[in-house]
Amino acid sequence: MSKFYIGIDIGSTSAKTIVLDENKNIIERILLPTGWSSKETSEIILKKLNELNFNVGNSTIVATGYGRVSVSFANKAVTEITCHGKGANYLFGSNTPSVGVNDDKAIDNNLLIIDIGGQDTKIIQVENGSVVDFLMNDKCSAGTGRFLEVMSNALNLKMDELCDMASKGSDTHISSLCTVFAESEVISLIGRGEKRENIAFAIVDSIIKKVCQQAQRLYKPNMKVCLTGGLSEFKYISDSLGKELKTEVYAKKDGRYAGAIGAALMGFI
């Protein structure tokens, strides 16, 4: 019977599961909303894994994310910083063959990872596959995915629509960093009759600036900057980050699973 390496990343918004085979190939991805109980979510994941015939008893399961302690069937729990570092290195590091058009410029064993999560933003520096430094935002939703979620709700837009619209806007700014105050700022912009494109631009611009301010603290020109987390699916976000940091920001389809991939990889250690 083959052995699997399963990583479960219970974030504040969504729960990501990755199954790796013994050769570290991704063979399954499961994405679920975290919901109100990470314990219940972890049980649903367990059920799904069994349904998909991954022998859980014979697998190594590592949990991460803020709900990591709720995964009772995990063999161990590792912080999301370490896992995101490992996962991003798997996706963007030197052990993967091709990473994008500017491949030759990038120094693949010196990564700066930006993960914009649901309730926190992490900046992680990874050298040769290991975390060497990291920063996390304060205990507030400024500069996190939650900020974008609240704002897109105020504009009655989905995330992809928000990004799409933002790309056509310009010249409007939100000054508040606090999500609650920024939301009322957005509402007064709406009341003033500001174009939706411009408001969308201002929303994304505000989070990009905030995240880059944090990233600048660890960024050095010899680093390859990578975006992970749910927002890595939106090209407008990685492009805008790149513009602000004046460097290419790499993103990949599996970026959202970086934490889960890292957790699965921790099972090999």
Binding site: I81, D120, S130, D133, F134, M136, D138, K139
Partner: protein, 424 residues
């Protein structure tokens, strides 16, 4: 344990409120301290004190007051205990380390004041701290703007004396501090009715030096690869030393040090071999603030040193005992106290040198630099501390926190990730 309610009532305390505090403390002590394995036997003394922290020492202080001795409450390690002890006074620390007191402080102070100041003011105004009821005089100092202004508010309620701590360390500043100590001595003489002499000052310097040496001995044992005492226990010892009689403090610390040295010889460690060793630096951890140490030590690492006011800044450096006049005494005191490196000075590169030295002395794997929220001085100094440590290839994690438990999980994640990083 004796029932202290009569004493608290006679001190004019808010008994109902204070009972709330008394009811949560045993649980906290149990979680943080009693859950540890293989503790040194010598910790029994501090366990006994902390179990009756608002009773055992206050009762002694009241007895001494009956004999005519005066009690001075102090807030800071720059206040020279020697002068007070020489004039037969007693020095005590004050309350300020719990969220419990913060709301009463916020009633008069801006919310964005550091929790230590809010808790201190709240403990006095809310009448929920016996030390704040007992002290005959409060000695403040100008080590931060928040405290300076808070003393004005406290001063309306209690007799307050404020020492002007210089902001720089040029020779003329040290001279000025000696003069400031002389002025303070005059005040203490007036207040206690005891004249300061070379003899009693010399004796007091010796007493406090002996206390410092004893505390240093305990800390010295933490430098060994075999770690004979946890960070939590060491911190408790240090926190209580601010309240205890200095001679008894020295005796108890020396006794503990004897045991710890024996443990080192016999390879008795409180942690598994290879456990990562952390130095914490930053703002003070007033009793009962055990949050940071508790998170670090339940996340797989050990605290081996505190470069803090509740740590090495309190007892490193001795005062020259060889004095022939009061003037020489004040100079000797000024010289010692101005060696303490606080972020209220500019520049304060001495603190960075201290941290780097202690990283070597205590065999440290990583530094956690943590300040209380709204402490602008230590927060700003994080930039130069972080840069200097990184340049020296010393891993550092920089945090900000307060007395609430709301960020405990976030701290656990950051500290956990830091420990994982050190373990890689």
């Amino acid at each position: 344990m004796a029932d202290r309610h009569e004493m608290w009532k006679s001190l004019g305390m808010n008994i109902e409120q204070h009972d709330v505090l008394c009811s949560v403390l045993p649980g906290a002590v149990g979680d943080v301290f009693m859950s540890q394995k293989n503790r040194p036997k010598g910790m029994e003394f501090w366990d006994m004190v902390v179990a009756d922290v608002h009773g055992i020492r206050p009762a002694e202080l009241i007895e001494e007051q009956k004999k005519g001795r005066k009690v001075f409450g102090t807030f800071c390690v720059y206040v020279p205990d020697e002068v007070i002890i020489a004039c037969n006074g007693i020095v005590t620390g004050l309350c300020g380390g719990s969220q419990f007191w913060v709301p009463d402080g916020e009633a008069v102070l801006p919310k964005n004041t550091c929790p230590l100041i809010k808790a201190s003011v709240g403990a006095r105004l809310g009448k929920t701290c016996p030390f704040f009821r007992i002290a005959d005089m409060y000695v403040g100092e100008t080590t931060c703007d928040g405290k300076k202004k808070a003393y004005e508010i406290l001063g309306e309620d209690v007799p307050m004396y404020v020492m002007d701590v210089p902001q720089m360390k040029r020779p003329e500043d040290i001279e000025r501090w000696a003069h400031e100590i002389a002025l303070f001595a005059k005040k203490v003489e007036e207040f206690t009715g005891v004249k300061l002499t070379v003899e009693n000052l010399k004796k007091a310097i010796h007493i406090i030096n002996e206390k410092r040496k004893a505390m240093q001995r305990v800390y010295d044992t933490r430098k060994n690869k075999t770690l004979p005492i946890s960070g939590r226990d060491s911190l408790l010892m240090t926190q209580i030393s601010f309240f205890d009689d200095p001679e008894r403090c020295a005796t108890m610390c020396n006794k503990l040090a004897d045991e710890l040295e024996e443990r080192v010889k016999n390879n008795v460690s409180v942690v598994d071999a290879g456990t990562k060793r952390i130095l914490v630096t930053g703002t003070p951890l007033a009793i009962p603030n055990w949050k940071l140490h508790n998170i670090i030590e339940t996340t797989g690492a050990a605290v081996v040193c505190e470069e803090m006011c509740t740590g090495t800044r309190y007892f490193e450096n001795l005062v020259d005992e060889n004095i022939n006049s009061l003037e020489e005494g004040f100079k000797a005191l000024a010289n010692r106290y101005m060696k303490t490196n606080c972020a209220c000075f500019t520049p304060n590169t001495g603190r960075i040198d201290d941290i780097k030295r202690m990283v070597k002395e205590y065999n440290v794997d990583g530094v956690i630099d943590c300040n209380l929220k709204f402490c602008c001085l230590y927060d700003t100094e994080k930039f130069s501390v972080g840069r200097a440590l990184k340049e020296a290839n010393i891993p550092v994690l920089q945090l900000e926190t307060d007395y609430t438990d709301t960020d405990a999980e976030q701290l656990r994640t950051r500290i956990g990730a830091f420990v994982e990083m050190l373990n890689k």
